[in-house]
Amino acid sequence: MNLFAQAVQWILDPLNYVGVNAIPLRVFEHLAFTLVTLVIASAIAIPIGFFIGHTGRGRGLAVSVAGAFRAIPTLGLLTLVALWIGIGLGAPFVALTILAIPPILAGAYTGFEAIDRRTVDAARAVGMSEGQIVRGVEVPLGLPLLIGGIRSAALQVVATATLAAYIADIGLGRYLFTGLKTRDHAEMLGGSILVILLALALEGIFATIQRFVVPRGVISSRSKVVRVRSSRARPMVNSAVEKGTQ
């Protein structure tokens, strides 16, 4: 426990609040980097995900790509891209964006797929155009799962951004690697605690958003609100169950 006390002391040490290594600066870097990555990944993944979800085309491909990406080790991708692009912010940025795309993509199309087909059919039958169906029915009803996907991506990016300090001078991971190298346990542990707090805070924020975007009429129909890990477990469970019964 003595080590934890040292870590807390390190976090509170005024010396760590000035200069290029100031904690607030590093937190900001880490957050900004995460956010920019998520925005770019979303800009790429959401339109494609909506297209797949609405038309059902390209689903098989998206599913296998997303599955394959899960097996690719993030550290391997980071170091490989770093060797290609060179040291600097470019490499982690590219690697993280690539890693953030599959969960967002999957969130976008599973969100559409989870909608009762009869609801969409009825919307079409009363005369909604395809664009109106997407905007007025599929996007609002699929939003919770999309946010779930972005949430998974955010978790992954925050974690991998820490690892990115291995190849670039970026974010809170810097403390971990400096501490490891100089055997400064207080810095190493203090940095780790900061990353964990940041990740938990993001998790909390996304959990709140996800709860918030469930359309009101939908809440009252389900006993369980689409929640926390559900984006992860439920589609898998559903598909497995469907497979079992077909």
Partner: protein, 227 residues
Amino acid sequence: MTWIWSNGDLIWDRTLDHLVLSVPPILLSFLLALPLGALANRYRASRGVILGSVGLLYAIPSLPLFIVLPVIVGTSARSPLNLIIALTLYGVALMVRVVADGLASVDRDVRQSAAGVGFSSWSEFWQVELPLAGPVLLAGLRVVAVSTVSLATVGAVIGVQSLGSLFTDGFQRGIQAEIIAGIVATVVLALVLDGVLVLLGRLLMPWTRKSSSRVLLPVVTPAAVTR
């Protein structure tokens, strides 16, 4: 590419290291998640507490956990045991929800009819609920296997040897082939373990044989689990 041919032994050794790091967490997380998931499925209160905790646990980034964990449990940061414990925690975090959802997905009517024909609640769990939740559990375990294999590589940056060591070494010495070899070996290892699980599933759940024709990676879940 010549690097790969002249370093076959190294790759093989790191693969063995990697197996030692990743197989125990996969098995342990399944064993630990069963009672926790069952408990989460049984009572409303325990569901909230357990699923809430594993949710938070899962949100903790891996590298900081690898660093913080030794201070809590008293292992050395560089010991494989430290990594095995951390990976088991992630596996449990993933698997508990799958177990809870899988058990919840078992048809109420089936459970009631089982109780009706005279199963005790203990034997009903083992002989009815668990087998019926089997396909869901298998799907979850496959995700755990693939993500554990991928996650184990991160240990390399704190000095725990695995296929991840090929990334750190390749990066520091500027050898692309080494990194690529590491990535390929990791993916292949994940596929092999996944295949073993699928085969085990067919052996233990012969009634699902017709439907689970896919041998490829467990897919679908929106959230890639690697970090």
